[in-house]
Symmetry: none
Subunit: 234 residues, 4 copies
Amino acid sequence: MPRPSDPNAKEKLLRAAEAEFAEKGLVRAKVEDITARAGLSKGSFYLHFQSKEDAFRNLVEGVLSRLGCFVDGEEMSAQELERLCGAPAALIEDWQSRDLETFEFIWQNRGLMGVVMEGGGGADYRHLVDTFADRAASRIAERLQRGVSFGVYRADLDIHTASLFIAGAYDRYARRVVRSAERPDLAAELRALRSMVLRAIGTPAVVALVESAAEAPAKPPRKRRKPKNTEEAA
Amino acid sequence: MPRPSDPNAKEKLLRAAEAEFAEKGLVRAKVEDITARAGLSKGSFYLHFQSKEDAFRNLVEGVLSRLGCFVDGEEMSAQELERLCGAPAALIEDWQSRDLETFEFIWQNRGLMGVVMEGGGGADYRHLVDTFADRAASRIAERLQRGVSFGVYRADLDIHTASLFIAGAYDRYARRVVRSAERPDLAAELRALRSMVLRAIGTPAVVALVESAAEAPAKPPRKRRKPKNTEEAA
Amino acid sequence: MPRPSDPNAKEKLLRAAEAEFAEKGLVRAKVEDITARAGLSKGSFYLHFQSKEDAFRNLVEGVLSRLGCFVDGEEMSAQELERLCGAPAALIEDWQSRDLETFEFIWQNRGLMGVVMEGGGGADYRHLVDTFADRAASRIAERLQRGVSFGVYRADLDIHTASLFIAGAYDRYARRVVRSAERPDLAAELRALRSMVLRAIGTPAVVALVESAAEAPAKPPRKRRKPKNTEEAA
Amino acid sequence: MPRPSDPNAKEKLLRAAEAEFAEKGLVRAKVEDITARAGLSKGSFYLHFQSKEDAFRNLVEGVLSRLGCFVDGEEMSAQELERLCGAPAALIEDWQSRDLETFEFIWQNRGLMGVVMEGGGGADYRHLVDTFADRAASRIAERLQRGVSFGVYRADLDIHTASLFIAGAYDRYARRVVRSAERPDLAAELRALRSMVLRAIGTPAVVALVESAAEAPAKPPRKRRKPKNTEEAA
DNA sequence: CATGAATGAGGGTTCATTCAT
DNA sequence: TATGAATGAACCCTCATTCAT
């Protein structure tokens, strides 16, 4: 006996699938459990997805693509860029602001991010994450390069090693956030993380700035786009 | 037609299981593939293990426990400790030497380490890795504390954040090693990684030391125990 | 969004169902494919048929019933009959004319005829075909009997075997027609077939007639009823 | 709980599959019913066959290949051939003997033959049957040609039409045999069928022979190979 | 009447595990 | 101990059918 048509069926299924995948990974998650969680019947799953893998791919590609937007960031005008780099404090605040947005998104989507980062999709999806990680490291390298040429970072910086290192630090932090039961104090922790990084790569002037600014309050992040999948709201 | 008793059967099965788990993860690895790879019959698997999960747990616990030995390190006499901490250069060399041993082990056991780190065992085994990571961070914290009290690291060091940060850096590097197709230059890469870390946490004197010693040759690691699972030898 | 009522819906569905059944048989044909081909919605199928099998039965019974009319033929007045049987050549022409009509119908409805003859409906529908075949053989037997009593066929004819044999020959030819990609030259092929049959059952006089008449042109068939399902027109 | 190893498992499964396919066709036959009929568990099916279709193909190809041996017949030495064709009566007896063997085989394997001939495997298997039918018609054409050149059949025989016609007659008879509930009197019916055919294609001398020999007893068939799948024995 | 999302029984296939030999 | 055929629970996916709109 069919239920009344539900215009949100696909969305409900995606939410349910996300939760099941987050809990059990691609292989152990059962289609029947997904549909049960969505309050639908088993068959309805296949009205919206080709297969279980299809739904998984949908979710993973979606979250990685949206995360990619944060990583790539907005275009910054040459003028704005020069202004910021001339004022290390402002540059650092911009950095913090971007980090906060990114990790806010990661926190909101921690279920899916967890599956993706912990390999819950099996080897077939690792390359997606690897590709993403490479892109992130490249972005960081670009910014380091820029920072060096503007005299914010040490001139003798080994940019390749440093970018891997920094990407690693963020990766590690992301894993921690994703597994947190409680919402972490993202602003404070990101500030601490960044202080560590700046100490390692900054010029003495920047290091001094970092040390003096340890207690400065963080500005709220600019709203660039509104995050989806707000698990918090559910 | 029973084959003659094989005293190495369990060992062969463990090696085969490790390889299959490394390639496919716990769920996708088939008992039949494991026994085929070991050159034994399907039934023989259950003469040595309660279940597929049992074999997996055996392997994971084994590798984590051996890795734990490296992390915990040998007891160091108070005298030796004081000597080392009075000579930062020696302390750093000791650190390098321990890192090298640890990562040598990780490289040798990269198959299993990969499954463990990439979540190939599903959510049920994450706590093992988490527990291990916590222990590692504690150890690092202890050593940071000691280093601070001996004046090697900056007195204002936020030990908690620093330990997470450092554990993260090593974790990240371990993931890279585990996925390398080619044997990485562990000594050089660990030296670079440590330099980064020391710049972030060391006193100015130590930072100077790091900068001047960039080209110093690493001593060969002390042999504390011989690593098992030498995939290289196979 | 309901479409405006379509008075041809049932007919469209029957045509689509026929095509799908012809291509895939009862089991492999999907209701959804049928309705899609008809340009209607899935649900509309059940406004016109109880079930997929119901539609299949409708079609099969329809085609067999219309084919039965050809086989049974029109009532022939005693007078007309006597006239024909007194003139073997005319009798043979009448036979050819009826065959042509029948096989024209078979060709036009080759899709459905194919499913029916090739068992595409499964064992449940075989009895329909069997019943039909029995009836056809009986009709042939009657005509053979009549032909014998009028001295057209050999007096020693084993009517039972002959009728099966002839029914078989037509059955076989029907299968060939039904599978032809190109429209076969029905008139010529039926003439050849009939010649073979007449040689086997005819009196020497008739055999001579057959041999001398090999090149006589066939008259166009009388139009008794107009065939439906004219696939050619579509 | 596994049953004791059964060396006949595959054979039992083939028999059971044959029966189920014969009753329900490829699509409607359920693997579970097949294994139940064989007294085995569902999973055991896949120890012996890749899939349900694989088992079906095995059976169909097997029966067609064995039937092909009958149709192709044994090589006949030129000497023997000449002797036989010089003595139409002997030639006809040889024909009868071969027919009897072939239809004995068809009767023994009527289950499978039924599925194959009635299209129970769907369109995918029709080409196998078509290919087989073409081969059979070619063989018949060859023999007709030989018979004509030896003066057994009418010199003006249209070999192509005749071969199709004869193949059709045998095809039709095979369908009847396959559906018989009771074992038909193969010898008598084949003899009748052959008489009809000979009347249609034979020279007057042969026709006379046929008419006089209607009551001659059939020789028992030479045993060329022992038929498998003897449903009668089961 | 028409629609098409929803339903859920059904069936093919996999594979961890057992146990007679 | 070793073997590998046998088992059967699980689970993915299909599709005929229903019914709220």
